[in-house]
Amino acid sequence: MSVNTAMIEKYRNDFLKEVEENVEEGHWVKMCMQCGVCSGSCPFGPHWEHPPQEIFMMIRAGKRDEVLGSESMWMCTSCYNCIVRCPRELPITHIMHGLANYAHRLGLAPKMNPTRRFAKIFWDNIAKTGRVNELGLSLNLYFMDGFGSGVKKATAMAGVGVGMLRTKRLNPFALVRHKGVQNPKEFQSLLKKAKEVEDRRKGLAG
């Protein structure tokens, strides 16, 4: 039984309770008074299928699939404009990240969403050595859809690459070896342990 169906069984009809249990800062969702400031403050606002305010209302109205399957939360650039202006002091940025993480964990988030895929590439990149391998990150991003499209994208960005190389802000050797923390192995086990503790806490194990 996948994690997702487990969730549905457990929270029969109350999606809000499910969010409060499993989503970062989810207990704040009920505090929204639908004033519209967050939706209006978001720099990427026009690109949200459902602005944050609507997502909160949809959660209360139990629209689980539309919310968890939506592209909206992935449009968040973490610019904190909504948090500082929200009259109810909801930590909206964190809730959006929490919802995206939860949808991602349940496998309900849109498969081809570029930010979701880039975020995974980013995490795997830093988990490997404890620090960002910038070159590795860019290449993995360009080639995530296979070799052909990767070459096309890489050549399109060649100008930027050359500029960075010229100004010594790109380390070609990183392709071969990237030094992060002294003991990457221990660092990776640290993250693995952290994930286990969190899953146990949130009953998401299995």
Binding site: R85, G98, R117, T167, G180
Partner: protein, 301 residues
């Protein structure tokens, strides 16, 4: 001035040959002139920035930041932690707040860190600050002016504070909508600041410049266009992500929108280093893809 010591958290982009290495060059040069000693946190790790949320989840990200704090408390105890990149500053500060607010989270974090032999009290006693806070609060504008040897007179700057350096913590006493400290810093070193720069605190797209290039580049275009409209010759910013996003995509934006942007994007630390008599190299001006010629001229005088 008495020597000031800080526990320094450089962040991934500041490493040698990384995308913000020239930021580091100018920061070190600036600090040297201001008698600030930066003791790098040994074996620091990435703060997972904000984009790490999707795969990382809550606790792993907090553990990463907690590890840095623990390392700092261990080897640089008593020193404020200073970050030059907004994402690192935010990551560490948010973790410190969250751990302080939730016993559960603190206990879980300690349990995990104990595995790496790191015991940590993490009672949010170590202040976590941004470099601009240190400059304004500890050094002060007179302090900033003190080591000046050359004025940046004749250059008009658009002070682009961006988002995470300004929100949700920002600098004490500064408004989220209209922070003025960057403009004051520019004026302190003789430059001319556009105080009502329209896109002062608008987000450049951050990490989504990678995953949603068209949407971010539309933002970046407006940020640069507003600078031109208001007569700026250069943009100055405190954030490595803003610097890279606003600088490196200018050609692509020109191709896409038919604009003719050629706007240099500098760091406040570069301005100060030049003002303190530092050479173009010491100010990391050689790292600017769009050359800041006027600044280089002053540096070479």
């Amino acid at each position: 001035m008495a020597k000031k010591e800080y526990s320094f958290y450089p962040g991934c982009s500041s490493e040698r040959k990384a995308s913000a290495s020239n930021y580091m060059v100018s920061v070190y040069a600036m600090c040297e002139k201001l008698d600030i000693q930066l003791n790098e946190i040994p074996d620091w790790n990435c703060c997972s920035a904000s984009i790490g949320y999707a795969e990382g989840g809550e606790l792993p990200r907090h553990v990463m930041n907690a590890r840095n704090i623990a390392l700092s408390e261990q080897s640089n105890s008593g020193q404020d932690i200073v970050a030059t990149c907004a994402a690192c500053w935010l990551g560490a500060k948010e973790t410190a707040d969250r751990l302080d607010a939730s016993e559960q989270l603190l206990a879980d974090t300690k349990e995990v860190l104990r595995e790496a032999g790191l015991d940590v009290h993490l009672k949010n006693e170590t202040p976590i600050r941004h470099m601009v806070e240190v400059l304004i609060e500890d050094i002060g504008y007179e302090g900033i002016a003190q080591p000046m040897q050359k004025s940046l007179e004749g250059i008009k700057f658009a002070g682009y504070v961006g988002c995470q350096t300004n929100r949700p913590f920002g600098v004490a006493g500064e408004s989220f909508e209209n922070p003025v400290y960057l403009d004051k810093m520019v004026e302190t070193v003789g430059g001319e600041a556009i105080s009502d720069y329209e896109k002062k605190v608008t987000c450049c797209g951050g990490a989504l410049a990678f995953s949603e290039p068209e949407k971010s580049q539309k933002q970046i275009k407006e940020i640069i266009e507003a600078a031109y409209d208001q007569g700026a010759e250069m943009i100055v910013t405190p954030c490595p992500v803003c610097q890279m996003n606003v600088e490196v995509y200018q050609n692509q934006i020109n191709k896409h929108y038919g604009t003719k942007f050629h706007m240099p994007v500098t760091y406040y630390s570069q301005l100060l280093t030049v003002a303190y008599g530092g050479s173009a190299k010491e100010a990391g001006l050689d790292g600017n893809i769009v050359r800041a010629k006027k600044l280089e001229e002053i540096a070479s005088k």
